[in-house]
């Protein structure tokens, strides 16, 4: 809900700045490790968009997989959310380089 509210505030601001009549679609990027459940975001969006510029907008969610870079061997590998170890050498000291995004990518406006 809080995330959806933040999303609608951001979208409304951009739509007003651009003088758009309505928002056709909103594309967000959600990493599997972001802690945000896409189904819940959809549900919140369906309820909370009412009365806003986004009332008839489509919500497009792009999911991103989790990828880590090994701090020992430098190899980048795709991992499960709860097993962020290097797939090449097994080292557990890694840095997450993708999969924790929570971003508004783009919106389509009706002029």
């Amino acid at each position: 809900m809080s995330v959806c509210q933040a999303l609608l505030v951001q979208v409304t601001e951009i739509a007003r700045q651009r003088g758009a009549q309505a928002v056709d679609s909103i594309t967000v990027q959600i990493g599997l490790l972001s802690g945000i459940d896409p189904a819940q975001l959809r549900l919140a969006f369906a309820v909370m968009r009412a009365g806003s510029e986004s009332a008839t907008a489509e919500l497009v969610i792009e999911m991103t997989a989790v990828e880590v870079r090994c701090l020992a061997c430098g190899v980048c590998s795709e991992t499960l959310v709860n097993r962020l170890v290097c797939r090449a050498c097994g080292n557990f000291r890694t840095r997450v380089i993708a999969g924790d995004e929570l971003r508004l990518l783009r919106i389509e406006l009706k002029a």
Binding site: Q10, R95, E101, I107
Partner: protein, 264 residues
């Protein structure tokens, strides 16, 4: 295809940023959804830094013993450090009253239905809880292992409790919050001899699987109090002052460099 629920959702077609299509145009945004929260969190952190106050966000599932750990910590440290507590709960000021009973200022935030604290709530609380002269501020988050992980409050360090009456696989079940932790505290370890299905080494293995070298320490406050490792960690952090102007918590990486300042 959506990887989480398997629905047949596809990526939006790339229309190009400067290609108006029949009265329609696309605006490329690329902004963090929690940018506003993060802005307020940064403001809070600057406020803590300016007053030389170490701010610790204490998280766990409900009933893991956050308040009990704070009470014991206050008893052990209040003669040497000036401590205050911000309490987050859905309802009641019971926890703030427990803290105040030890002679330490405490401010209760009741969130109503919200299952987490956010930076704005903490900012509001700071207007009513003077932090000048403090050494240490604990922010006890709402008992929940999911949502608190996503909201930066402006804290310097995240501490997550895992009580031995829970499963030792909690770090595998709730990877986001445990990965964001600077320290994991196994609480209620005086019950380990009766909780024979909880293996601390198994919890440690699940924690290491999250790709960080997060320390795991054991505490107990009731039957056989054991606080030495926790107090030593706290005092090391208080003395090291590495947290001042250091970074935001290890909560989110910075894909594409958009969220500069995030990550370690």
């Amino acid at each position: 295809m959506c990887q989480t629920c398997g629905c047949a959702m596809t990526s939006a077609p790339n229309l190009g940023a400067a290609a108006p299509l029949g009265g329609q145009h696309t605006v490329e945004v690329l902004e963090n959804l929690l940018a506003e929260n993060d802005r307020v969190a940064k403001h809070n952190r600057t406020h803590f830094d300016d007053h030389d106050v170490l701010a610790i966000n204490l998280m766990s599932s409900p009933g893991a013993g956050k308040t009990a750990l704070l009470e014991a910590t206050i008893l052990a440290l209040k003669s040497r450090y000036r401590i205050a507590v911000i309490e987050g709960d859905l309802e009641t000021d019971n926890d703030a009253r427990r803290i105040r009973a030890h002679g330490v200022p405490a401010l209760q935030i009741t969130t109503g239905t919200a299952c987490h604290l956010d930076a704005a709530a903490v900012h509001q609380a700071l207007h009513d809880l003077p932090i000048a002269g403090l050494d240490l501020l604990f922010i006890e988050n709402v008992g929940n292992l999911v949502c608190p992980a996503s909201f930066d409050l402006g804290q310097h360090l995240n501490v997550t409790l895992l009580s031995v009456t829970e499963g030792d696989d909690k770090p595998a079940k709730y990877p986001v919050i445990f990965r964001a932790s600077d320290l994991v505290v196994l609480s209620k370890t005086d019950l380990l001899d009766v909780m024979d299905d909880f293996l601390p080494e198994r919890a440690a293995a699940h924690l290491r699987d999250l790709g960080r070298d997060t320390p795991l320490i054991q505490t107990a406050v009731r039957r056989k109090p054991s606080l030495a490792a926790w107090l030593a960690w706290l005092e090391t952090e208080l003395r090291s002052r590495e947290w001042i102007y250091r970074r935001v918590p290890a909560r989110r990486s910075s894909p594409g460099g958009l969220l500069s300042g995030f990550g370690e």
